[in-house]
């Protein structure tokens, strides 16, 4: 059954938010879960995307994605009224939500999208939310208003200082952890190196840290094992054991290498796609 796009807007240079019809998923999903999207049935890739929000009454879910490869570029070119053939979910274990006390939520770039529903859920459970969101530069900061609305404290940082504080997210994170009353939990979601360094930071202070991993997947149901990561020396499947793990136990270095498995092929596919769109005069 095709899923119609009912809303679309661009959040930053390459980041898009779409709202699509998916009634079953909208009513079943919980914070932390994801879907797998395949634009068309015959030849499309299956790509995992976190559910950034849902409206059970309307029967829609919100997806936020960055156009980095061919499939996401193709998706970015869909407009309201167009459809996506396949969306399956919700997948993965939901976030463990309870009242911990103070939780520091750290988001980097596109990572703010999966972080938002988790932060929201934690807020609703009665936690004090300290949010730190960052990006390379001003244009890439997404969902600032949404975070403002649910956070008790919010710090925005950019690498180049073009907006907010000029810092990496680890700096304010370190400050929060050094306070007299240290946070009971940290949640860090973003690019793999960012999560790695957040975990190194919180480890010093013994602040338990949850990360959400977005590895290469096919089915998202445990069948292919392509998403496997090393956690505490054991092999875990991100799709069924995760996507959230104890960040202090994740082997990020190995994960980063695995994420590059298809870099060359992906670039090739993207170049071809762009060239094709240029030729037929579709590119904006």
């Amino acid at each position: 059954m095709p899923h119609k796009i009912v809303n679309k807007n661009q959040l930053s240079e390459n980041v898009y938010r779409i709202e699509v019809e998916a009634a079953n998923i909208a009513s079943a999903r919980k914070p932390g879960q994801f879907v797998i999207v395949g634009i068309s049935t015959e030849y499309s890739e299956r790509i995992p995307l976190t559910i950034a929000g849902a409206d059970a009454d309307k029967g829609t879910i919100t997806l936020i994605f960055q156009a980095v490869g061919k499939s996401t570029a193709e998706m970015a070119n869909l407009e309201v009224g167009d459809s996506i053939d396949n969306i399956v979910g919700p997948l993965g274990q939901p976030t463990h939500i309870e009242k911990f006390g103070t939780v520091v939520c750290v988001g980097g770039g596109i990572g703010n999208a999966p972080l938002l529903p988790i932060a929201k859920g934690l807020k609703e459970a009665g936690n004090k939310i300290i949010s730190i969101i960052g990006a390379r530069t001003k244009e890439l900061i997404i969902l600032e208003d949404e975070f403002k609305a649910i956070s008790d404290e919010l710090t925005v940082v950019t690498d180049d200082g073009s907006y907010g504080r000029k810092a990496l997210v680890t700096e304010p994170l370190k400050e929060v952890c050094s306070r007299g009353e240290k946070p009971a939990l940290a949640v860090a979601i973003g690019p793999t190196p960012m999560m790695k360094f957040c975990c190194l930071t919180t480890k010093e202070f013994d602040v338990p840290t949850v990360v959400s991993l977005n590895t290469i997947m096919i089915d998202g149901t445990g069948m292919c094992g392509g998403c496997r990561v090393e956690v505490g020396g054991e092999t875990k499947f991100v799709c069924v054991d995760g996507p959230e793990f104890d960040g202090h136990k994740v082997n990020f270095d190995l994960m980063m290498k695995r994420m590059n498995a298809y870099k060359d092929l992906e670039q090739e596919a993207l170049d071809k796609y762009k060239e094709h769109r240029c030729k037929i005069g579709l590119d904006k």
Partner: protein
């Protein structure tokens, strides 16, 4: 065909018609070889390897059957097809009748004619084979089944449907078992919905078994047949997550549920280097290649797969053979199949082993990987193996492989595919309270495929562990009968 051969064929047909063909004459007919694409040609394409019997080959093969009284072949068939009679019908030239006989017990004849391990089932018991003390001399029942099924593939032989009962049956998983249950329950007049997690139906027949062994168009035809019968199909629906079994029953009005989700959690070997880039589970490798059509990457398909030059496949089953032969078709120059026992212990079908060898897969037996070695980018560069020898028989009855100490050696490869089987997927266990599982995570059922929850039935790999298409179908038949019986009283 030479003139004399043609003459003898006509004579045999004539005698068959008159009922004067003697057993001694039947036994003299040589087994008919299956025409196949040449190895050098087929390893460069994804088209089907075995091409199917011509009419004449089929008649000759069918006439080899001596129509023995007790027909032990039927007992060897997990779905109890009336083999003796359908083979007899082919010998008589009445293929329509043969198809009708097959269809009494079998909805997926074109599939099973191709992928059933007949040599350990019906054909293992064939009187002709036993008479020669050579199983390869048995009547080729599978090839005959395929011959008939292919002939009627496009004919509308949709079975009759009983009057609507208004009762709803949910079938979880659209693999071979699910298809059988859906068909049988629909025939009984129930309102059947199949739920499939992937975006295409067919289960292992579309993601796992390669095109060159089982064309996907053929599987689709079987699915189309179900749809024509009125079975509903919901793809992209993961039972346990999208809706739970309890929700299907308590909120969505399904009175019975069949769980046929397969095994689907790949086993790894827990050796060093398994996380390296270029190490695949066979599930992932085959899914990329088959379902996602990675062989067309750059020519339409968006899913990439390693462009391998040298590939090592670990394992000795059908899935290992499929992986090795797929790697060749994707352009690998060298493919090694590494197996720790000897060829005699390989669980793969003889035909698959034979085809793999013909195509150039190199068999490294009595060897096993100890670790996988990577380069500075964490890409596979070699496998370190140990040599093995065979010791005393183990629990499986096969001789136990024993490593030879200090026998380590390296094989240079850029890709490694782990094909050592699947465990049970934990999703339903996590989300279906009250459903009983054994210690390996397989669902517990009684002889009627009934689980610990009223109205819930299960079969196939999620019950049996890793098995075959036909065993899943056999359980599907049992489960469907139980469900139809259960819904009669309910």
């Amino acid at each position: 065909m030479t003139e004399s051969k043609q003459k003898s064929y006509s004579e045999l047909r004539e005698k068959q018609k008159n009922g004067t063909l003697k057993n001694s004459e039947r036994l003299k007919i040589p087994p008919q070889e299956m025409p196949a694409q040449e190895p050098d040609v087929r390893k460069n394409n994804v088209e089907e390897v075995a091409l199917g019997y011509t009419e004449e080959e089929a008649r000759l093969e069918a006439m080899r059957c001596i129509q023995c009284k007790n027909a032990p072949c039927v007992e060897g068939c997990p779905v109890r097809i009336n083999i003796k009679d359908f083979v007899g019908a082919i010998a008589d030239g009445d293929d329509q009748k043969a198809m009708e006989i097959i269809q009494q017990n079998q909805l997926l004849a074109a599939v099973c004619g191709r992928v059933c391990p007949q040599e350990i089932q019906c054909q293992a018991k064939c009187t002709v084979g036993l008479r020669y003390k050579d199983p390869t001399m048995a009547v080729s029942i599978g090839r005959l089944e395929r011959f008939v099924a292919d002939k009627f593939l496009d004919n509308d032989m949709t079975p009759k449907i009983a009057p609507e009962t208004g009762k709803k049956v949910a079938v979880v998983g659209s693999g071979p078992g699910g298809i059988v249950v859906a068909g049988e329950c629909r025939r009984a007049g129930h309102d059947v919905t199949i739920f499939e997690a992937f975006h295409k139906p067919g289960g292992v027949m579309v993601y796992g078994i390669p095109e060159f062994r089982l064309p996907k168009a053929l599987v689709q035809k079987e699915i189309d047949k179900l749809i024509k019968m009125g079975v509903k199909l919901e793809c992209n629906f993961l039972v346990g997550r999208t809706r739970t079994v309890k929700q299907l029953m308590n909120e969505d009005g399904f009175q019975a549920v069949y769980i046929g989700v397969g095994a689907g959690l790949p086993k790894f070997m827990n050796i060093e280097g398994e996380q390296l880039v270029g190490v695949y589970s066979a599930n992932e490798y085959l899914t990329r290649a088959n379902l996602m059509k990675a062989y067309d990457f750059g020519k339409g398909a968006d899913t990439p797969i390693a462009r391998s030059k040298k590939v090592a496949v670990f394992g000795g089953g059908n899935v290992a053979m499929d992986s090795a032969r797929t790697a060749l078709r994707l352009g690998a120059e060298e493919v090694y199949l590494i197996y720790r026992r000897s060829e005699a212990e390989m669980p793969a079908r003889i035909e698959e082993i034979h085809h793999a060898k013909e195509e150039g897969v190199k068999f490294l037996i009595l060897q096993n990987p100890k670790r996988i070695l990577g380069d500075d980018k964490a890409r596979v560069r070699a496998v370190e193996c140990l040599r093995y020898e065979l010791g005393e028989p183990d629990d499986s009855g096969r001789r136990r492989p024993v490593p030879i100490e200090g026998s380590e050696f390296e094989i240079e490869v850029d890709t490694a595919i782990v094909a050592i089987g699947n465990g049970a997927n934990p999703l339903l266990q996590q989300t279906t309270p009250g459903l009983k599982f054994n210690k390996w995570g397989n669902i517990e059922v009684d002889d009627n495929c009934k689980t610990s929850i009223e109205g819930v039935y299960a079969g196939g790999d999620i019950v049996l562990g890793a098995a075959t298409v036909i065993l899943a179908m056999g359980q599907g038949r049992i489960a469907a009968q139980s469900i139809n019986e259960y819904l009669k009283s309910g």
